[in-house]
């Protein structure tokens, strides 16, 4: 891919108004969606890891689905839920909330595809770590909120960190659901992958250059959060 990048023209290609707008939009929506995914995903992951919910397997399956669905299908699923004629969408519209073709829709689509990354990472870590340390903390008098803040979260930090990084990177790369569900308008809903898709029609070189930007940003994020981890814990 590197070989086909038109290095000389790179600054011009990337500096174009459309590219910058797309990059900016992508970064902003990805940040928002990642935050949303953390807020929703961490409690969900803990409940799945520790709880004895009767429907835990079903819930987990539903959460994991976006990970494996093809983009078009994800988009269709969102559309039939949050779309104007969708189950929830209709109700929201009654309340005067219309998310169609808005940046909110982009964030929603990205949250949808990013959530599983967080849930998988945090649930896996919570499950393997078990509740042993939480129990110890409780027998020392720590109330549940304290346990969460001072034991669970710090212990899950590495998993949370890499889960968040993957979620953010996945948000950056989200294409199909955004396209199907949110549309594509410069500065509002046209994120970087959509811009790449469009550029490819007229200027494949520009598309490759933009792809490279995306790859580099995503790789950078994934790389950054891979701090060297601690050795085995004494038990």
């Amino acid at each position: 891919m590197l070989l086909r990048v038109p290095w000389a023209e790179l600054p011009a290609l990337l500096g174009s108004e459309a590219s910058l707008a797309a990059l900016g939009l992508s970064l902003r929506t990805s940040a928002a969606a990642t935050a949303l995914a953390v807020v929703l995903g961490v409690p969900l992951a803990l409940v799945l890891a520790w709880g004895r919910l009767p429907g835990a397997r079903v819930v987990r399956t539903v959460v994991l689905l976006p990970l494996v669905l093809p983009p078009v299908v994800s988009g269709l699923a969102l559309l039939t839920t949050f779309g104007r004629r969708g189950l929830l969408g209709q109700r929201l519209e009654v309340l005067g909330i219309d998310i169609a073709f808005s940046t909110t829709a982009v964030v929603l689509a990205q949250t949808f595809v990013a959530l599983p990354f967080l849930v998988i990472a945090v649930e896996g870590a919570a499950r393997t770590a078990g509740r042993r340390h939480e129990v110890v903390a409780a027998t020392l008098g720590a109330r549940p909120t304290t346990v969460l803040r001072r034991v669970t979260v710090p212990l899950l930090m590495p998993a949370l960190g890499s889960g968040t990084a993957l979620a953010f990177a996945r948000c950056l790369g989200e294409f199909g659901a955004t396209l199907t569900f949110a549309g594509s308008l410069q500065g509002v809903t046209r994120t970087l992958p959509l811009e790449i898709y469009l550029q490819r029609e007229t200027d494949p070189d520009a598309a490759i250059a933009l792809s490279l930007v995306l790859v580099v940003v995503a790789a950078g994020i994934v790389l950054l959060t891979q701090r060297p981890r601690r050795g085995g814990a004494a038990s």
Partner: protein, 355 residues
């Protein structure tokens, strides 16, 4: 009278544990028993890490577990030192010890200072800044002990607090615990396999076997006049539990032992005969002469204990007895494991009491 600090009357069916015990406020209870007897389970019931299948648990009179009631561990004002140290791996040693006080609202600096004091008490002040995975086994145990003592709880639950410690440390920490427990008005339950711990720390003793309480009483009572095999072996005496066949004789299976009846008149049909291993002589064949108690047995073990050798034997009815003899007499006897011997003890050395 105020409510006992801890009252457990509960069952954990999946572990086949069903116990009833009470710890009055301000007293230290030693919880003894063989491996798998249910000691850790009882502590778990008190701490809230094990839920009873039935029955109830009360801490300071408050129902903390039982039908409809459940008070989570953190709200019980207890502190548990579990059998595994389980230090928090993301904190250093000092922060581990300061964790409890911090969780109970002590300010950071005060908690750190308290933690340093506790660490100094267990001889681990030099480890304060260490990461926990860089501790040796005994060091981790000391830190865990300091951590359990730090929150200043109403009820302290200690599961084998001095195991894995070296002789010096064990002796020193036994004193630390003694100071922390005795005369402080603090209530504690201590699980231990060590007679020294019982003597140094406990007011009362409960012996568990196979999930049931088989003996309880003050330390002096239980160790002085043990009524369970385990208590007897811990106290280092031989015990025959059985039927009273005379004011001064007990029969266990086919074994009959005569002794001195206690001053109080007999009230029960079950009785115990206790005698020290030092009082037992070992012969290859039954001797003539005065001793009234002659028990044929098979040697099951030989063990050096200090300057003496302990000969362990079992009678045909299954009574397990020990005799302490000098190495010289042992080599004269030329006995080994599996040999048949005769154990002889003077009736004057045997104490008979109600069981």
């Amino acid at each position: 009278m105020s409510a006992p600090a801890l009252a457990v009357r509960a069952a954990v069916p999946e572990r086949d544990v069903e116990v009833e015990l009470t710890v009055p406020a301000g007293r230290v209870l030693a919880l003894l028993g063989p491996n798998g007897a249910g000691k850790s389970t009882v502590l778990g019931l008190a701490a809230g890490t094990v839920r009873p299948g039935s029955g109830e648990v009360r801490v300071a009179g408050r129902r903390v577990a039982g039908e409809g009631a459940w008070v989570p561990p953190h709200a019980r004002r207890i502190s548990l030192l579990a059998q595994e140290p389980l230090l928090l791996p993301h904190l250093d040693v000092l922060a581990n010890v300061a964790f409890g006080p911090r969780a109970r609202g002590v300010a950071r600096r005060a908690a750190d200072e308290l933690a340093r004091t506790r660490l100094a008490e267990v001889g681990a002040e030099a480890l304060a800044e260490r990461r926990v995975h860089r501790l040796s086994g005994g060091q981790a145990q000391r830190v865990a002990l300091a951590r359990a003592l730090a929150p200043d709880p109403h009820l302290l639950l200690l599961d084998e607090p001095l195991s894995a410690l070296d002789v010096d440390a064990a002796a020193q920490l036994r004193q630390v615990l003694r100071a922390a427990l005795r005369g402080s008005g603090r209530t504690a339950v201590v699980v231990t396999h060590d007679l020294l711990d019982v003597l140094a720390l406990a007011d009362d003793v409960v012996v568990l076997e196979a999930g049931r309480v088989v003996e309880q009483g003050t330390t002096a009572e239980v160790l002085g006049r043990p009524r369970s095999g385990f208590g007897a072996r811990l106290a280092g005496v031989n015990l025959l539990l059985g039927e009273r066949v005379a004011a001064d004789a007990v029969r266990a299976g086919d074994d009959v032992v005569h002794g001195l009846a206690s001053a109080q008149p007999a009230t029960t049909c079950r009785a115990a005969a206790a005698f020290s291993p030092r009082a037992v002589a070992v012969h290859r064949a039954a001797p003539g002469g005065s001793p009234r108690n002659v028990l044929p047995a098979r040697v099951t073990g030989l063990e050096q204990q200090g300057a003496l050798v302990r000969v362990r034997g079992e009678t045909a009815s299954g009574s397990r007895l020990a005799a302490d003899v000098t190495p010289a007499s042992l080599s004269a006897l030329r006995i080994g494991v599996g040999d048949d011997v005769v154990l002889v003890v003077k009736a004057a050395e045997v104490e008979i009491y109600d069981a």
